[in-house]
Amino acid sequence: MTSSLERWSPWLVLAAIILVWEVICRAFQISDFIFPAPSAILASLRQYAGPISGHALQTFWTTMAGFALGVAVGVLLGILVGSSRLMYRALYPLMIGFNSTPKAAFVPVLVVWFGIGTVPAILTAFIICFFPITVNVATGLATIEPELEDVLRALGASRMDVLLKVGLPRSLPFFFASLKVAITLAFVGSVVSETVASNEGIGYLMMSAGSQMRMPLVFAGLIVISVMAMAMYVVFAIVERRMTGWATRGMDARA
């Protein structure tokens, strides 16, 4: 009983919010131009289903391309930084500095270099999402028990052996945890770039709808983008549980 309530609680909260939202909009007769009611947003979603799905697809593949790039670079950089003290010392401050810079500030630069359109969106998604992956992979590698490393090195294990047998499997839970963060960040990156510099994608759709005061359509775009990001989050949460059950099950056993 309690557990089924727990299970459905997020949906109940969501339904309650939508209901209150709808009621407030109707009761105070708030104009759709200012704050559209859920019903108006839904109507807009239906009406423009075709164009919205086209733009959504564009945003989706742009994000996934940037994300894939981010995973590749993030993992390689993480391995580099995590397995060598020198690299850690040399690169980490620089990476922190880079990560502290607002990524939206890169968009104009990317536009000058690559023109408006898909490429800056992919690259913005990439630069915003690789950092958490790098940090997590590096952390997983850097926290190998020294005793375990001694055991292996006394047997004549090379650095590569230690990395393959211990380091990488050990950092997998960190890696998958970071994927969940990175995929949502990637959506932020691509949409920000589309808003500023593109003729395609949900970001562009929202921008142009906003400038025409078609607020229900803006909100429809907002909802589409958050549904996509959440869906991808769930996908990676499931992958995480499948791949590294040992990490969380170990915690359950200890608890």
Partner: protein, 261 residues
């Protein structure tokens, strides 16, 4: 002395220039199949001594010879186990025990081909420490004592000539600890490798070892060598004999003097 299995000759080791020597002027020799124990206060360089024996560290001064050859790198004939079992949580018990065979030659080259044979060997080893039926379990499903048994099996699976144990039973409760003394005793009886056991527990050292070395505070020096002349095989009852108590007391007095100094 030249027929000694391990010969440590006036060895100093400093990790860096600032902190000074971790151990100093350490000389000792071990016969093949000897069981020695190192006791001493915390931070006396016992673990440093182990690193020297395994070839993970090279002495700053002096030399370490194993089987007559000066040690210049990882030895591969050693097995190690520590206070933490350091098992890999994503591997089953059996796969944890097999790990060294995936790394050390000559097993490594034939590991894929001969996996079944090696697995049978690992199972036999697990059976001999009382872990039959736990092969497919994961480390977190085992108790601390069981994990430590697995860790010792992992240290022994490639049939090392030298087993290095760094306070392997320190984290266990008293009864489990005594149980594991017997496990280690039986393993040693059967396979007769050479053992260096680093421990804080004087009863443990006396019960298991042929020779007990007492080390001083940092920088660690060897202050005393005590041969344990209690005949083997030893049963737990021997730990309540006068002779046993005498030796433990003697060792305790050494430690007491060190702590006062």
């Amino acid at each position: 002395m030249s027929d000694a299995f391990v010969e440590v000759d006036k060895v100093d080791l400093a990790y860096d220039e600032v902190s000074g020597n971790a151990i100093e002027a350490v000389s000792l020799s071990m016969q093949e199949r000897e069981f020695i124990a190192m006791v001493g206060p915390s931070g006396c360089g016992k673990s440093t001594f182990m690193k020297l024996c395994s070839g993970l560290r090279r002495p700053s001064k002096g030399q370490v010879f194993v089987e007559g050859r000066a040690v210049s790198g990882p030895l591969k004939i050693v097995g190690m186990a520590f206070q933490n079992a350091t098992l890999l949580p994503w591997r089953t018990t059996l796969d944890n025990v097999l790990l060294p065979l995936e790394i050390v030659q000559p097993y490594r080259a034939s590991f894929k081909r001969e996996r079944e044979k090696y697995a049978a060997k690992a199972r036999e080893l697990l059976r001999s420490v009382g872990l039959e039926g736990y092969e497919k379990r994961f480390p977190w499903e085992l108790s601390g004592g069981m994990q430590q048994r697995v860790s010792i099996c992992r240290a022994l699976v490639h049939e090392p000539k030298l087993l290095l144990l760094d306070e392997p039973f320190a984290a266990l409760d008293a009864f489990t600890r005594e149980e594991l003394w017997l496990v280690l005793r039986d393993l040693w009886n059967r396979n007769r490798f050479t053992v260096v056991l680093v421990t804080h527990d004087l009863r443990e050292a006396t019960f298991l070892a042929d020779t007990v070395y007492v080390m001083s505070k940092r920088p660690g020096r060897i202050l005393a060598k005590r041969t344990v002349d209690i005949p083997r095989p030893r049963e737990l009852e021997v730990t309540y004999s006068d002779r046993f108590a005498e030796i433990v007391l003697e060792l305790r007095e050494h430690i007491g003097r060190i702590r006062k100094s």
